[in-house]
Symmetry: C3
Subunit: 343 residues, 3 copies
Amino acid sequence: MPHKVSELAVRFGCDVVGDPDSVVDHVATLRGASNGALSFLANPAYRKYLGDSDATAIVVAEEDAPHVSGCALVADDPYLTYARMARLLHPRAVPAAGIHVAAVVDNSAALGESVSIAAGVVVDANVVIGSGCAIGAGTYIGPDVQIGAGCWIGPNVTIMGDCILGARCVVHPGAVIGSDGFGIARGPEGWEHVPQVGGVRIGDDVDVGACTSIDRGAIEPTTIGNGVKLDNQIQIGHNCVIGEHTVMAGMVGIAGSTTIGKNCAFGGNSGTSGHLTITDGVVITARCTVTSSIDEPGTYGGVFPHDEIRNHQRSVARFRQLDKLARELTRLQRAMKNQEKNE
Amino acid sequence: MPHKVSELAVRFGCDVVGDPDSVVDHVATLRGASNGALSFLANPAYRKYLGDSDATAIVVAEEDAPHVSGCALVADDPYLTYARMARLLHPRAVPAAGIHVAAVVDNSAALGESVSIAAGVVVDANVVIGSGCAIGAGTYIGPDVQIGAGCWIGPNVTIMGDCILGARCVVHPGAVIGSDGFGIARGPEGWEHVPQVGGVRIGDDVDVGACTSIDRGAIEPTTIGNGVKLDNQIQIGHNCVIGEHTVMAGMVGIAGSTTIGKNCAFGGNSGTSGHLTITDGVVITARCTVTSSIDEPGTYGGVFPHDEIRNHQRSVARFRQLDKLARELTRLQRAMKNQEKNE
Amino acid sequence: MPHKVSELAVRFGCDVVGDPDSVVDHVATLRGASNGALSFLANPAYRKYLGDSDATAIVVAEEDAPHVSGCALVADDPYLTYARMARLLHPRAVPAAGIHVAAVVDNSAALGESVSIAAGVVVDANVVIGSGCAIGAGTYIGPDVQIGAGCWIGPNVTIMGDCILGARCVVHPGAVIGSDGFGIARGPEGWEHVPQVGGVRIGDDVDVGACTSIDRGAIEPTTIGNGVKLDNQIQIGHNCVIGEHTVMAGMVGIAGSTTIGKNCAFGGNSGTSGHLTITDGVVITARCTVTSSIDEPGTYGGVFPHDEIRNHQRSVARFRQLDKLARELTRLQRAMKNQEKNE
């Protein structure tokens, strides 16, 4: 849908530098833009493409406006403002309301208004689905699940029994919510199951990425706070509590019974041990492993950057001798001191 | 279903301290318990909640019984005993037997008694499914697959052709069993497929977690022993052999053609190289990478705990100079010795 | 299907040492082989099994031919030649052409000749599927997707709207192609979605492993070059570009907007940060983390091998003191020099 730049400026609180009557109808990168494109500059690494961009309008910070050849939309937070404009230009496709003839919805399920149920969906007994929800093809919704209004559940998702999702959640394809936690007890003849009867309780505005799994609690529910955003291939163990507006990049693993505060950020493939408590506002960088509770907000790391393989192997060999090296150093220091004394 | 404490005590071999006529009908945590709840104490960190718990009965070790305000069920192994009682109070929901009208079962498939096939299931040619099995919605069972009696296969699972599962296996949603191993050979024009004709052979009482994948063997089957428990998001490469009663936490990766012994335990996101042999009784801690075969039972680690980011970066910088540091230390030691000689 | 060794030799350019009239009809390992089996020797570790193998024919390099007791097929590249013979003996099962009555195919979809659509498949509007493709049970193909000729798409796969796959691609069960990239912008009340309108563009002869996810681009498509082979449980972030014939083992994670060259190889669970550029011909060993761009072809590592747990813990403790140790060493060196001067 085409929009005048002046209209976007009013709607999203920007100043316009350039022709306010320009019209944009899609988003593009600075380099890939052509006529009708809206673009943005948020990462300074791309500033060099600003002057040559063919975008009709570009969302920029004030200092970058003079370098825009077309029309500049000046915003305090260009990326956030771009995001909002892009949502206007490219709204998420909403499938037509109704239950596809090839879906199976239990008679006891309660569906709100304008719910869309795609082909191959199976909705089990006593499920409640709020108004405006869309459920993608092949998805399974277990008994007694409650889904708030305006959720988008992708294709081939699995939500097991008793789980609760708030409003406006987005669950991407292949995600599994509410499968059993890894509860086993060693018996004389092998490992025995420990029943996992807590479900999963998910707040409002939560995103769950593709192929991400969130286990149900052993007794009480695993809990995901409002506004949490989980990327793909993440594993959340049973009994975890994830605080509001915490974000996790792909392949993060949170072991069971760990409680994470609000507004935390976890880099890709970082992870934590189980039974920890991590306070609000903690940043864990990519690939870092949290092995003990964290009480102080701040940034914590643990990754080893790549190295040329032979140098890395030499370093690793020395690493395994580190304790020995450190002891030798201490011995040398002592010898030195004795020498000095003796002189 | 409500059970008298005295009945549980007889059935599971406990002593009762308190009123044997108390009745429990569900499980709860020590802190979350109310009337009718059965709870337990296994992790000493929760001992502080014992005295104040409102649980009707608590499974404890003998030494903890005096601190229980309600009724104590005294057991040698409280967690195992709790697990068994919990299975009695909360049996896994067994869907009604029968083939849902929206399932597709090939005429050549042989189904045992009391098998439940949910909506959207597709069962291919010559499949054999043992009595009492439940197959969840949207699951695909490939040609010639054999599934033993009493298995629970969750929704949206994929089991490719020729795989064999023993009795009482549990396969959680999104798991993939028997997809092709990663067999490729470099040809002049690109990588070429190497056929993967071995299936997967899974023993009795095996659990496969959500979104876990087990590749079929290249020639002979990938083999998972009796009683193996695999958590979520695990990858088992082709030709692997996993010994009986070995357990793996989430996100473990076992590269192809590795053989792992019995009664091993792998922590979360640990992994191994391919073509290794790991003996019985080996414990690999979380995030550890096994790069060579292990002949000695024992515990092996390799994780780097998180650190405040600037300290970590300083340590990493030094790590990359480790070989140089070690050489300088040796040089210093030699210089010291020479000095001593000269004196 | 049985084949004479002489026929295989002509077809695949081998010399025969032994009886050219021998007949093989299946593949086997050297140790597991019996009459009628074709085997091979590529890994020198298995040379010890050569002499005792009961295989009817074995593909070997010239130097190994004298040690074969049965019939030797002598090839320049035994593994590649074996792969081709194995594909002849064990062609991928091609399901019968046609649309299963329990599949749902939109009227606007255009299907080529001899396409097979299994039960439970859902094909959305305006999809184009090339001739000879097979789509497995329960798979979802989103609107406007284009799939080239001869692709094999496994069961329970999800391909979201606007994605393009070339010819002869193989997509294993549980894979997700084209789900939203992890695009979020922080607003005053929480994280807001950034629309992800670029699709995924996949070349010819690409393999996508089980449970692997490839995110759609934010604006321009995520791009996978011809001949790329991706193993299971891999995560490719939005806007990534993967060059032709690059291969990745299981559990690799490539963060968003990273560009990887041609003919690279990534070991299991290795990964990269986002916004990097990696040149052609780079080898990243297993578990290595690439944190900056790589301009030089070569092999890069970063894994820490397992160690006996107490030794590892001691090393880790010292690691965290590394900067201090290095400073003390420098101090000692200086003291030494001063002493020498003073003498």
